[in-house]
Amino acid sequence: MSDRGEVVEEGATGRRGFLAVLGGLTVAWLAAVAWPVFRYLSPRPPPDPFGGEGKALVKGVAPGDVARPGQGSNGSYGGRGLVVFRGPDGQLRAFDSKCTHAGCNVQFQGDRIYCNCHGGTYDLEGRNIAGPPPRPLTPLRVTAEGDSLFVSPMSS
């Protein structure tokens, strides 16, 4: 028994600090072991919708569908949604259709682009003019080649 008492006595000083170090260390080790699991569960970055060629085919909208000013339609490119329309100035425009507020897909409504979820409204330049959206829509460069439309990122 004296032995037991003695051990406690010996350990009493500085035991708290010792435990803190050990605790911190154990957490560090556990984090190291958990790292592979975290990396395993981390999603891969989605593939570039424009692919290696820097442009993506527009599906669901043909050049003929947007031949005249005021015509427009929802379509898709590389697995994402977009709106394509011909503006009053006769220029072909496209935006990624993901609303900057909550991610619903917006709709082209002739004079504006409107989101049916929370009433977010954008003008035909893609600027957020009413409702909750915090940012303009992402614009896309759109070109017609034969019977197909292609989009590419605006920056390039």
């Binding site: 990396r39 395993y40 569960l41």
Partner: protein, 370 residues
């Protein structure tokens, strides 16, 4: 209000942390609402005898450790596994997902080691005669768990849909098909058609990840509850000692704590095996191609496979019937060998067990070598 709360038993008051600490307050708060003190006390009293066969008491915990690893790695694999594209999704796990190959290999090795640990647990229980009354139902649930674990292995083996798994499953189910009367029907139900196809995966997948886990979890709960209620069995040699010579470990606090480093070592062993001998993914199953050379079932089915080879042609039914007798006999042992200390029946059971074990090992080795 407060009259609905249970009073704290005085012995609990003595043994819980002091009431002015956070832990003391929390435990008392809980105990006032859920008066489980008798159960806590029962568990705290639980002890494990210390003798030269004590090492075998660790086996159940080891099986449980491997099962836990299987649940965790299984859930992780399910995140990326797609029964609609079985081989492609496993290939993605192995080739693209970070550490996917590691997790898949651990799942593979833990499965094998779990079945090995189950065998050790089963045979040590058998030879220490822990199945005798009043532990018959613990034994029977244990046997059921052993059988279900092999079903786990069989169903999981098909999921990657590679060359080996396809043919192994085809051969395995064809054994069921040969059973009289209901064999054909049963095989079709399992396969989801006359042959092993992707439809079979759509059956094996829910079996492997939903049905079997639920049943096994339930049975494990039952099995462990039985053990908690009755305590671990003491072999005859230990009972024969005078009471003052019998030594015990506390189950919680001593026995279980001492087992943790063993689990840690097994965990590292799993990583080592996964690192040094990772599980390969063979080419995608091609139902039209010839079976790969030297194809054999997993080692835990090898003895049955080899035994059935001894009964060619029309004798095969006889072989199946004889093989079916083995589990039946094992279930019945506790109802026949009941005497404590062991009598002539007990000694006969031991000899039969040795013969059975020798047969199992010999058949498995033969299967490996042939």
């Amino acid at each position: 209000m407060s009259s609905d709360l249970s009073p704290i038993p005085p012995e609990a008051d003595r043994r819980l942390p002091p009431p002015d600490t956070r832990a003391g307050r929390a435990t008392r708060w809980l105990l006032a609402r859920y008066p489980v003190w008798p159960i806590v006390e029962h568990l705290a009293e639980k002890r494990v005898p210390r003798h030269r066969h004590s090492v075998w008491y660790a086996m159940g915990g080891i099986v449980l450790f491997f099962f836990t690893v299987q649940v965790i790695t299984g859930i992780l694999l399910m995140v990326y596994y797609d029964p609609g594209q079985p081989w492609q999704s496993v290939q993605r796990i192995v080739m693209e997902v970070p550490y996917g190959a590691l997790i898949r290999s651990i799942h593979h090795w833990a499965a094998n080691l779990m079945i090995l640990a189950i065998f050790l647990h089963l045979f040590s229980t058998f030879f220490l005669k822990a199945y005798r009354p009043p532990r018959e139902m613990t034994w029977v649930t244990g046997l059921m768990l052993a059988g279900l674990s092999m079903a786990f292995g069989f169903s999981g083996y098909l999921l990657p849909w590679d060359d080996l798994s396809f043919f192994a499953t085809r051969v395995g189910i064809s054994e069921i098909e040969k059973a009289p009367l209901i064999g054909g029907l049963l095989a079709d139900l399992i396969r989801g058609g006359p042959d092993v196809t992707v439809a079979t995966i759509n059956r094996f997948f829910p079996l492997h990840v939903v049905v079997l886990p639920l049943v096994v979890l339930g049975l494990i709960t039952l099995h462990l509850t039985f053990v908690q209620i009755q305590g671990v069995s003491e072999p005859d040699s230990f009972r024969a000692m005078p009471p003052e010579k019998r030594k015990y470990h506390k189950f919680f606090g001593e026995f279980l704590v001492a087992e943790v480093p063993v689990w840690l070592a097994l965990g590292v062993l799993l990583v080592a095996l996964a690192a040094l001998a990772p599980r390969a993914l063979d080419p995608e199953a091609n139902p039209a191609a010839s079976a790969p050379e030297g194809i054999k079932p997993e080692w835990y089915f090898l003895s049955q496979y080899q035994a059935l080879k001894l009964f060619p042609g029309s004798l095969e039914l006889l072989g199946q019937a004889l093989l079916a007798l083995v589990p039946l006999a094992m279930v019945l042992v506790p109802f026949w060998d009941r005497s404590i200390p062991a009598d002539a029946r007990g000694r006969l059971a031991t000899r039969m067990g040795i013969a059975g074990l020798a047969g199992l090992v010999a058949m498995t080795l033969w299967g490996f070598l042939s």
